[in-house]
């Protein structure tokens, strides 16, 4: 029997194109807690718990941000729309469809999904411009959802293009523990079936492109200015206000509005081009709207004297909507010599060439984040040593190798914060730690998540020489053996320790806990997940001694049954005690 009507296709993700972070290791042969687990059919659902077969991101809750991270200049400018995304996963499906429904299988701590976007290619193909369209967003994620697996399928906006690449954006700062995802299912059809009117759709997508609509904002033409009769001043009554006041008013406008305002009249244009308006530029919020024209607009402003000090371009260019050449041009043409903070995390536009340009034109850079940029090669990353004033450097999930990081350490003796998590190409973390100990005595924060070759040799050297250490993440460093006494030595050397993550170390025992309780009373966060050898008495001592403790992860520690943990929670209500489960 032949039926009329569109044919709907249901498909699961067949690939992962990109992601911002993952709990699992970067080894392709390993699947545990790897983001790639989101591919294919559900494996865990409807079970609920902390399973290895789930896709898990690197962080959750407020804990990672709560510690005294390096002081980035906060962007006080209001946003055009609420933006809470912290992590993303780009999944690809077999067939491009007009999305009708997207369902996420959440098998642990649901409620982290905040936005869904689709990468669209405009048809016909000759204008093959890619762009992202927002299918759904919910910037205020629900907390305290029931602890059960759920299939979450929000109602999507209709879009005018077919897509097979979907970005899922997550916010997990409100969650109690890691969010885990099992699968993602896309339903759609090859032909358009609109329920809404074209106009509505058009107006929605128009909002999305506001950022690019202000390309090369031309000063209003003479004729337009003559038209208003009531006011003899260009810009109406605004020109009567003191310039400082107008400037102040403009500082309350979101960035896209500033761009739009520039097109109104010459007064607005001048104010929006005021150098003080762009000292701190956050494009992360608008990453999906930033295209080559946006970059052109910023270059324009910079050439007009804007001195950008803080530039957040996280995720910008995702889906390869901007070519690396254009990024290169951007850094070369923009006068960014006063830039001190640059975040280009997870941007696929960062290549070896772009890095070379960046290091040449940004000599005064103090803070650099290029986490999850997987295009720069080990050799390409070596140019970072040309930067001499780095205080914080985030190289999480990059291809930096031993030689690359060592030359950076040699030329940046003021480095205080370094993220070398999941850097697969570093073969000898001990040597890197020895170099840190020798050259960067000011070091306060080190993230060595999944540093596979780190042993007590490197750690002891670090503890001996860097007494200001405050935050250390040695999660999944399986080669650190507590029997060598390295952790007790660390505790004795570093009284300022505020955060210590020994996730899945397995060898942590009572001796280490007692030592921390004795020497590191400023401790705020401790993670000892997965050890069999820590007793309840030792942890109680720690809880009594460390009054500042806020976070303690005791998941999969054998002595800590539900009852024990509940008792500890009542005794120490100020401490968030975590106990994950795998039922």
């Amino acid at each position: 029997m032949k039926q009329h009507g569109p044919k709907y296709i249901k498909q699961y993700a067949v690939g992962i194109i990109d992601y911002s972070s993952q709990y699992g290791g970067e080894n392709r042969r390993s699947f545990s807690y790897s983001v790639s687990n989101i591919m294919g059919e559900p494996q865990i659902f409807p079970k609920y718990g902390d399973f290895t077969q789930a896709a898990v991101m690197r962080t959750y809750g407020p804990w990672w941000e709560k510690c005294s991270s390096p002081s980035f200049k906060k962007d006080h400018r209001p946003r055009a729309f609420p933006f809470t995304s912290q992590d993303y996963i780009d999944v690809v499906f077999d067939q491009a469809v007009y999305p009708w429904s997207i369902a996420i299988y959440e098998t642990y701590n649901p409620g982290s999904l905040v936005r869904i976007l689709a990468l669209c290619q405009r048809f016909p193909k000759q204008t093959a411009k890619r762009h992202w369209e927002v299918l759904w967003d919910n910037p205020h994620p629900q907390s305290n959802l029931p602890n059960e697996a759920r299939m979450f399928a929000p109602i999507l906006r209709e879009i005018k293009h077919r897509s097979r690449i979907i970005r899922l954006e997550f916010c997990h700062s409100h969650l109690d523990y890691y969010a885990e995802l099992d699968a993602v299912e896309l339903t759609g059809c090859h032909v358009r079936t609109y329920l809404f009117s074209e106009d509505l759709i058009f107006s929605e997508s128009k909002i999305d492109y506001s950022l690019s609509s202000n390309v090369d904002p031309e000063p209003p033409s003479e004729s337009e200015e003559e038209e208003p009769i009531q006011f003899s001043h260009p810009g109406g009554m605004f020109s009567l206000l003191p310039a400082e006041l107008t400037s102040k008013i403009f500082s309350y406008l979101p960035f896209p509005d500033i761009c739009r305002a520039a097109q109104v009249c010459s007064v607005f244009h001048d104010h929006s081009y005021d150098p003080s308006q762009l000292t701190c530029l956050n494009l992360h919020t608008y990453w999906h709207m930033v295209n080559e024209n946006t970059l052109k607009g910023i270059v324009n402003r910079c050439q007009n004297g804007c001195t950008v000090q803080t530039l957040n371009m996280r995720w910008v260019g995702g889906g390869d909507i901007i070519s690396p050449d254009h990024f290169n041009w951007f850094f070369r043409s923009c006068n960014l010599s006063s830039l001190s903070y640059l975040d280009v995390g997870s941007s696929p536009c960062i290549t070896d060439e772009v890095l070379t340009t960046m290091t040449a034109v940004l000599p005064g850079l103090n803070h650099l984040n290029i986490e999850s940029c997987d295009k720069p090669s080990s050799e390409g990353l070596r140019v970072l040593h040309k930067l001499k004033q780095l205080e914080t450097l985030n190289l999480y999930r990059t291809k930096v190798d031993d030689a690359g990081i060592i030359c950076v350490l040699h030329s940046n003796n003021n480095l205080q914060s370094l993220n070398l998590g999941s850097c697969q190409q570093i073969t000898d973390y001990d040597r890197v730690f020895c170099e840190i100990a020798a050259h960067c005595k000011q070091m306060r924060i080190i993230d060595a998540w999944r540093a596979r070759s780190l042993t007590s040799r490197g750690l002891n050297e670090l503890a001996k020489n860097c007494q200001f250490l405050e935050e250390l993440d040695f999660g999944w460093c399986g080669t650190l053996q507590s029997s060598t006494g390295c952790f007790t030595y660390l505790a004795r050397c570093c009284p300022n320790l505020k955060k210590l993550f020994l996730t899945a170390n397995r060898t942590v025992a009572d001796a280490e806990i007692r030592m921390l309780a004795e020497y590191c009373i400023k401790l705020r966060q401790l993670d000892i997940l997965g050890t069999r050898q820590v007793s309840v008495a030792a942890v109680e001592l720690l809880l009594h001694q460390c009054k500042d403790l806020q976070f303690l992860d005791l998941s999969f520690c054998f002595s800590f049954t539900v009852d024990v943990v509940n008792r500890l929670r009542t005794m120490f209500p100020g401490v968030a005690i975590k106990r994950s489960f795998q039922e």
């Binding site: 709907y8 390993s30 545990s32 889906g319 390869d320 069999r532």
Partner: protein, 328 residues
């Protein structure tokens, strides 16, 4: 489409999207979706390649025949579909043109340390199965598969301890070749026209102490035997249609001599799943009965005597048997 970081890889046999007409529905219970491609063992595979039809049976040693009140008809019993028999674990899965089977026997000695030995073998087999299902293996290198499955155990948040023997059997359907890796005293045999034409060799350090993969608890790191997955005995063997592959833990081989197994296999009617299921049940039941027979000179007892232990009778142990036939 040239897309920057395209690292996609196909997922086992789940790519054919379901087409349906009219209004799409979002099912409440996705288990319904899963069943279509997974339940029938080889539905998505093309016809001209050979394939394995497999059935599993076994017993935990705590299921003693004395406690048994009535003979349970095989069809009605969920035991047949179980993947765990006491401390034994097994899996049957496939990816593209490879059918993969595995058995593992958790070493019971860990019970004395307060460690459940079944956890290790179960997680090892789960990890190997996941490796296969997600295409993270090379059919001709089963020892590598075992090694990456083992490495995965260390990646679990749950601190695991224990040890296990393991035997992996991979049928490369495109070449009709069997690739195997065996560590310890589990094993497999290939039976063709009533004769054993190929089989695994047992690996032992000394009597009743097989080679084993292990994760020692942190406090006993020094004292534990730990063999590497690379030490596994690996073989490759060309198969013919109709070949029978029997993969089992030592619970079978210690209690049932070859001729008894061959006799049961000879009674196999055809290569249909139902008859394989019946045969594997019969073998398992017979092995289990023999294991509790105190007067019987079992293969285990013979071996013990050779090593100077005056033992008689069967060896009560967990038994896991996977029986597969190569069909066209």
């Amino acid at each position: 489409m040239t897309y920057g970081r395209y690292a996609a890889r196909a997922v086992a046999n789940s790519l054919s999207p379901e087409h349906f007409n009219g209004i799409p529905f979002v099912p409440r219970d996705p288990r319904g979706i899963q069943s279509s491609s997974r339940s029938s063992p080889n539905s998505a595979t093309s016809t001209h390649l050979c394939r394995l039809v497999s059935a599993v049976s076994g017993f935990s040693k705590f299921d003693s025949p004395i406690r048994r009140t009535s003979r349970i008809p095989p069809r009605a019993v969920s035991l047949l579909d179980k993947r765990l028999y006491g401390d034994d674990a097994c899996f049957v899965t496939y990816y593209k043109a490879a059918d993969v089977l595995g058995v593992a026997d958790g070493v019971g000695g860990w019970r004395a340390y307060g460690i459940d030995p079944s956890q290790f073998s179960k997680k090892l087999m789960d990890a190997c199965e996941m490796m296969v299902k997600t295409g993270r293996f090379v059919p001709s290198q089963p020892a590598d598969l075992l090694a990456s499955g083992y490495n995965e155990l260390l990646q679990d948040k749950v601190p695991l301890a224990g040890s296990s023997t393991a035997c992996l059997v991979v049928l490369d359907r495109s070449k009709q070749t069997l690739h195997t890796a065996n560590l310890g005293d589990s094993g497999f045999m290939v039976v063709r026209k009533g004769e054993v034409v190929h089989r695994s060799t047992e690996q032992q350090h000394f009597f009743n102490t097989p080679f084993q993969l292990s994760v020692p608890p942190a406090e006993h790191r020094e004292e534990v035997l730990n063999d590497a997955a690379e030490d596994a005995d690996t073989t490759s063997f060309d198969l013919e249609l109709g070949d029978i592959i029997l993969t089992a833990t030592d619970g079978l081989f210690d209690n049932m001599p070859d001729h008894a197994i061959l006799k049961e296999l000879a009674r196999l009617k055809d290569n249909q799943y139902e008859s394989i299921k019946q045969t594997v049940w019969n073998i398992a039941e017979q092995a289990r009965d023999l294991s509790y027979d105190p007067d019987y000179l079992s293969p285990f007892a013979k071996q013990a005597r050779k090593n100077g232990y005056p033992v008689t009778g069967g060896k009560p142990d967990d038994i896991t048997i996977l029986l597969s036939i190569v069909t066209g």
